[in-house]
Symmetry: C2
Subunit: 882 residues, 2 copies
């Protein structure tokens, strides 16, 4: 009869890890799947607790003896620890339990003299260490002495007599040190071994160690006793590990290693060079040792069959740990196949294909951020890295190219077909053309929302910013590292925007891969997700990328970027520096057709989908030239003294530009600007809608609102211009007008603001800055310290601060919809590409998130996961109304 | 029998202005007080509505005739408009109604021929204009023709026959233009006059005009009919206005004017030079015309008696509008005594003294901001102003002095006993010494929280900042105005920090006056108020001023200002530029005794009262030198190359300093700084408490908190240092640790933060900046436009934004006290000196407000008013928990 305390591996139904340990569960499942798992029994955690209390002998019931007897005559046993989770660690296994002087002749018959003596010696050594606390070094000294005495290279070369001598010496050493002779009964060995493993598990250092791996204080242990598959013997014998998927790509492919005449550890400890699994692999590696396939031709097929069974039964890709005993293949364990971030996608879709998991499971199986690896060129993880500078990972992917210090050079190099890395202190609007031509960007200053970072993300260009440990030696035209290395113009460097590192030279790269698996997973995500994913796209080029990533529209078109083009920046500057409203209007009249053409192109690309256009937002001084030379050029173009330009620029400069005269404040104080933009939008919509069946519905967004009257004022003018354009062009246009909620006050006053608005789009970059009183660009300096010290649980610019900023979002959403139940809610900060933040938006009932085009796939997957997870739990931070 | 439609002036009980108009109410009250008010009747608003509908004739009932008959035989009548509020305006009065050809002889008998004809002429002219819409110019042409014909200087010199002729001509003109002869019945004249006044009231332009003065759309009119006190006649006759309090000081003192042989208008229109009231006044003015006192010796005493009666009965200081008819003095109206802001205090306390009003009424009678006039030297309101520049009123009061462009010169001038006005583009910490020596400060840039503004307010120094229409010509060392005037070094200018103006030259000034009335009012305020008033005081000097204004403690001591002293700024800079923690500690060790000494002095001054000390808040780059020269000096002092200083300063500079590495972020990343400050505080407290019976209880405040863990980290270290100091000095110290709530997130997370805090002090400057996403310094440029256009109802930096920022305060207060019911709540932004904001704090249950020392009296009065007003209504903005 069985008790809950122990059970035969092959008798278990629905095992759980808390009772039998993770490995116990795996073994039981594999046994149930019909895999050749050596017979044995699982000792439950409850049983181990009793052993801890009373010793194993007190609980070694007759049933236990019966089961062990049922494993066969003179079998050797293994005893393994099986904690609830594998990563908690645990004491080492004890193998070959049951060798005694009496049983030795039978063993010799089975595995040969050398093998039998070796196994006996290892048992005495291992048992002595585990049970009696003997020093393994003392045993190893015996071996070393023999090696020396016989003048051979290693233990493997010792003559048979030496092995015999070693066993004798080991038995003597044991008896001497332990005070008792080595136990000559399998039962006795097993009982003491059980006691030893349980004792070790409960030791102080083991406790501390496993708690550091996340184990709870009362983590318990289960044990596994199994018949040994020996791996040592007369026929084909050995131990190995086979994987059936490629670690980098996730594609099917058998690989692994096999060590003839070896047991578990030896194969894994790597004392000897392992052989390969397939003949083909051996050939390509030009190894002398025969592959498993050559030794045992059926083995690869058997392993693949086992892999399929395991993956199906356990619902993931597992490698197989196996032992071959006289040509028979035994499965010792299954270990999760290691995989690169990129491989997770392929593996997940393949598992669905073979019916091992559902589509929903596959969607949950892939970490959305891992898609970055699919989307961008990356440095090969196995390539050596000569890191020479550190900064912020401003835009993912890696690029190699020649150091250039000016946009002009970047353009030149690009024209010559050479990759350029544009290196600047900071970038400014004048650099945009150069950035288009560069393969990567590196700045010494700036934060995650600096000009370089924002533009690079938009372009999908690898970018590292704020690399403060690099110095730009302008005179020598070189980058100098902290340890004095210098990279002159033309030197080859690599920027790793995924990690925020600068590397010397050109490490191996792996190309982005948007293969079938990626597309398949994305299509499933789109079927599941309930929250829209739009892109932040400022230019037709961005829009094309966005459309390529199958977004649901544009959630944020920052019109200011349109003004940075070479052919219009000077007109923009004339507008800004205009002395009279008349002059300003005249400059705006020249900007109108340019902006209208941009919108025509943008709307044509996005037709059929919504496009949210943010009216001009940044403080005007951002458009003015920064360098002395450019100021001179502008002065010449405008025919004014350069001092006028300098003075005007100075008078426009601000103490805290983030909190300055920008957003709707421009719209109120210089209404001509928004008038022009509204007209450009409506005229473009009229043109595009006349041409196409699929209509565009522009959504006009007012930035940086803090009071309802601001919206009223702008809305009145926009509505009037819409009416004018409709009358002039004899068309009907539908459009929506909404606000960007990015000040805490806008969130609090959501009721007032919802009245005149079709939508709220939360600008969580600014909202986070204002809620924390923390500029993202300036926070870079200490954010890492803050997060490391646990002062902030996470960088609130990476993952939405649910407790603070999140409460403002919830307040605004609830108050807004109280007044206007149809209010559309979106999020268009950088958090729009962050999975946790997307999950929050889903729970908060948002209609969409918007992120940079290259983040859209991540957002689509995260949105799908949010839907799947919200079916399980819906715990939003509760606002108790207090 | 009387109806509600009209009532005798002397019969009214408890009149109300909505029914009888403000003047009707005053007349009825004065009649009831026994004053010699001419008899007459009040026509209610309801009656005037009927007149408007049907014409006066339809409602001229017999009772009305009876009342009019009761006023006496052949009396002349006046008809006056009486709107609900005097400031709404209304049609002109019609006087002398009832003169007809038939009655003329009797009138001649009463007032003489010239007088009678003049009155008749004026009646025809006035009536013609009001009733028939005739052009008064046509009548004036008749007069001018006679003046010319008789070759005299003015109408008054015309011979009798001319007056006769004028009446004949006027009657003919009237008949000609109106188409009917001038009506020869008092009743008919009165009825048409009533119609005319009501019609005029309901005219479009009158409506628009009064609505611009704040009248509601349906503002109605009442009318007053009174027996004329003629002012023209055989004995002492005339009209006048007497005031019994001095307009500037509010002290008792009879003044006014009297015009013999005149009626209401003439006296007020100022066509003739009026005589004075008292003989003494005539003497000092060397006027030829006899004073009223000389004409009618009892009149001054009578007027004073009437004044006392009126002030008592009407509860305020009123001047008396009077007419003397044959030596009899009639009171026509009472007009509120005009008064400077400063005089309101004296008048209010005097009214209490005579029992006219209660102390509570007196407290409510004085606009708290008016106290500024008492506290600071001001430009005489009657002095001519040669304004040459405009800026922000950064610190109230006015000062005249010589233009100086450097702190050194200011110090030098001051040493020579000359007043200096320090003129700078902006000030920086290096200017502080110069500011101490200057009489006033003027900056071309900067906002209300700029360095200059903050320091000047602390010093009580008149200051104008951001005077963008002035240009500093550094080469010529001169200020140049927009119209090209130039003020070189040494030129005399005046800064008016109350108005934000710069004046050429030295206008007359009036000195500050903290007289008995001021002190009395303050003492009443302190008895009434329930909310504490503390001062923001950074230095011992500030603390002395604050103690002088009887504050309840220091609510904000900004420790950074202590570091700007000449003798320690370099040590501070060494600390900032230190390369290692060791170097930093060594500089801090040298700062410790200096800071401790400051606290010893501060605590000694404030002993017995709480002192809230804010740990270091500003970003460190604020302490670094700005000018090239000073950088060189520092480099020399520190023995490092100047490039090191420049580079280090550059690396510390921030994009948005307001949102940068400041406040508790310094405390977390460089804990040595707060350690030093905590030690200085505790050691100073130990020293002071050992010396004195009255103990000081320091309150340590952590700035710019946004997460609870920040508080935990700082609190742990502060508590540890307190324990160390207590052990070292063998004393017991009590102290409180709290936070400055100035980020929206701190308000939202108040529950977490309240756990470890004794108090919350709301820093509403920063909180407003962050809630609006608006930097106060940068908002200056457009705030005026915004407020004028009504985009913001008020400048939220002047008066707390109750709807947005206020909600955050309420959320924080409620959540904080949920967790910690004893949590002390204060406000220490500039709003602490703003009456509306103080009212809000009272309603929100705050314990105190803290403001700059010179605002403390304003805050004390406002706090008293808040208590008095909150007894009446307690409408806080409701947070519906949504």
């Amino acid at each position: 009869m069985m008790t809950a305390d122990f059970i035969r591996i092959h008798d278990v139904i629905d095992p759980d890890a808390a009772t039998y340990g993770a490995r116990g569960v795996r073994l039981a499942r594999m046994a149930a799947l019909g895999l050749p798992v050596p017979r044995g029994l699982l000792l439950a955690r409850s049983f181990c607790d009793k052993i801890a209390r009373d010793g194993a002998a007190a609980h070694f019931a007759t049933e236990l003896d019966d089961i062990l007897a049922g494993l066969g005559d003179e079998v050797l046993l293994s005893l393994r620890a099986a904690p609830e989770k594998g990563e908690w660690g645990g004491p080492e296994a004890l193998l070959n339990i049951g060798i005694t002087n009496e049983r030795l002749p039978a063993l010799i018959e089975r595995v040969g003299e050398a093998g039998a003596y070796t196994l006996y010696f290892r048992l005495i050594e291992g048992y002595g260490a585990a049970v009696e606390g003997l020093d393994p070094d003392d045993f190893e000294t015996l071996v070393a002495d023999q090696v020396k005495y016989h003048a051979v290279k290693s233990e493997g070369d010792l003559p048979l007599e030496a092995h015999k001598t070693l066993v004798e010496e080991a038995l003597a050493l044991y008896a001497d040190e332990a005070g008792d002779p080595f136990p000559q009964s399998q039962r006795e060995q097993l009982i003491h071994a059980m006691d030893a493993l349980v004792r070790s598990w409960n030791g102080v250092s083991a406790r501390i160690l496993r708690q550091s791996y996340g184990a709870p204080e009362d983590a318990g242990l289960a044990l596994i006793v199994q018949r040994m598959a020996l791996g040592v013997g007369q026929g084909v014998c050995g131990a190995g590990l086979a994987h059936m998927v490629d670690e980098r790509s996730g594609a099917p492919g058998l690989s692994g290693r096999f060590l003839p005449q070896a047991q578990g550890y030896d194969a894994l400890m790597g004392l000897r060079t392992p052989h390969l699994i397939t003949a083909a692999a051996r050939e390509s590696a030009r190894q002398s040792g025969l592959s498993l396939e050559e030794l045992l031709p059926d083995a690869p097929r058997a392993l693949e069959a086992h892999y399929a069974t395991i993956s199906h039964g356990l619902g993931d890709a597992y490698g197989v740990e196996f032992t071959v005993e006289n040509g028979a293949l035994w499965v010792l364990d299954a270990v999760l196949s290691p995989r690169s971030a990129r491989a997770t996608v392929r593996i997940a879709t393949d598992l669905v294909r073979i019916g091992a998991i559902t589509r929903e499971q596959a969607l949950l199986r892939v970490e959305p951020r891992a898609l970055i690896e699919n989307l961008h060129r990356q440095i090969d993880p196995s390539a050596p890295r000569d890191v020479c500078g550190h900064g912020l990972p401003a835009s993912p992917g890696a690029a190699t190219g020649r150091v250039t210090f000016s946009p002009e050079e970047a353009i030149q190099l690009d024209a010559q077909g050479e990759a350029a890395i544009l290196v600047r202190i900071e970038t400014s609007p004048e650099d945009i053309r150069g950035m288009h031509s560069a393969s990567g960007v590196l700045t010494v200053r700036g934060g995650m929302t600096s000009h370089a970072a924002v533009i690079a993300r938009g372009l999908g260009l690898p970018c590292v910013v704020g690399a403060g440990d690099l110095r730009l030696d302008q005179k020598a035209r070189a980058i100098v590292t902290q340890d004095g290395r210098s990279f002159s113009e033309g030197a080859i460097i690599t920027v790793d925007g995924t990690r925020g590192e600068v590397l010397a030279g050109a490490p191996d790269m792996i190309a982005p891969e948007l293969d079938g698996a990626f597309e398949l997973l994305m299509s499933w995500a789109d079927q599941v997700r309930e929250i829209g994913v739009r892109a932040n796209a400022d230019t037709p080029q961005d829009a094309r990328v966005a459309r390529g990533f199958a977004v649901d529209g544009i959630g944020l078109c920052r019109t200011e970027h349109m003004f940075f083009h070479e052919d219009r920046i000077n007109t923009m500057r004339e507008m800004i520096l205009a002395d009279t409203v008349g002059d300003r209007r005249s400059a705006l009249d020249r900007l109108l057709p340019m902006q209208r053409d941009d919108f025509v192109e943008l709307f044509s690309i996005m037709r059929g989908l919504p496009v949210t256009i943010r009216l001009l937002d940044p403080p005007l001084h951002e458009f003015l030239p920064h360098g002395r030379d450019e100021m001179h050029d502008l002065a010449e173009a405008m025919d004014v003294p350069v001092t006028t330009i300098i003075e005007r620029a100075k008078s426009l400069s601000e103490f805290n530009p983030m909190l300055g005269k920008r957003g709707v404040r421009l719209g109120i104080t210089m209404p001509e600007i928004y008038d022009m933009q509204a007209r450009a939008i409506f005229e473009a919509a009229a043109i595009v809608n006349t041409r196409n069946l699929e209509q565009v519905e522009p959504e006009i967004m007012i930035p940086l609102v803090s009071a309802a009257r601001e919206v009223d004022v702008v809305k009145a003018r926009v509505d009037e211009i819409a009416a004018q354009v409709m009358a002039e062009r004899e068309v009907r246009l539908t459009y929506r007008l909404g606000i960007m909620v990015e000040t805490p006050r806008a969130a609090l006053r959501a009721r007032d603001l919802a009245e005149g608005s079709h939508f709220f789009s939360f600008g969580t970059n600014d909202l986070t800055q204002m809620t924390y009183g923390l500029s993202r660009d300036d926070a870079g300096r200490f954010m890492r310290d803050y997060v490391n010290q646990g002062v902030f649980a996470e960088d609130p610019f990476h993952s939405l601060d649910v407790e603070g900023v999140g409460e403002l979002l919830l307040i605004a959403a609830r108050r807004g919809r109280q007044i206007n139940p149809d209010l559309m809610l979106g999020l268009c900060g950088e958090h729009g590409g962050d999975p946790n933040s997307i999950h929050f938006c889903k729970l908060a009932g948002f209609d969409y998130v918007s992120c940079s085009p290259y983040r859209a796939p991540i957002a689509r997957l995260a949105a799908a996961q949010a839907t799947l997870l919200s079916r399980e739990h819906t715990d939003l931070p509760q606002d108790d109304g207090a």
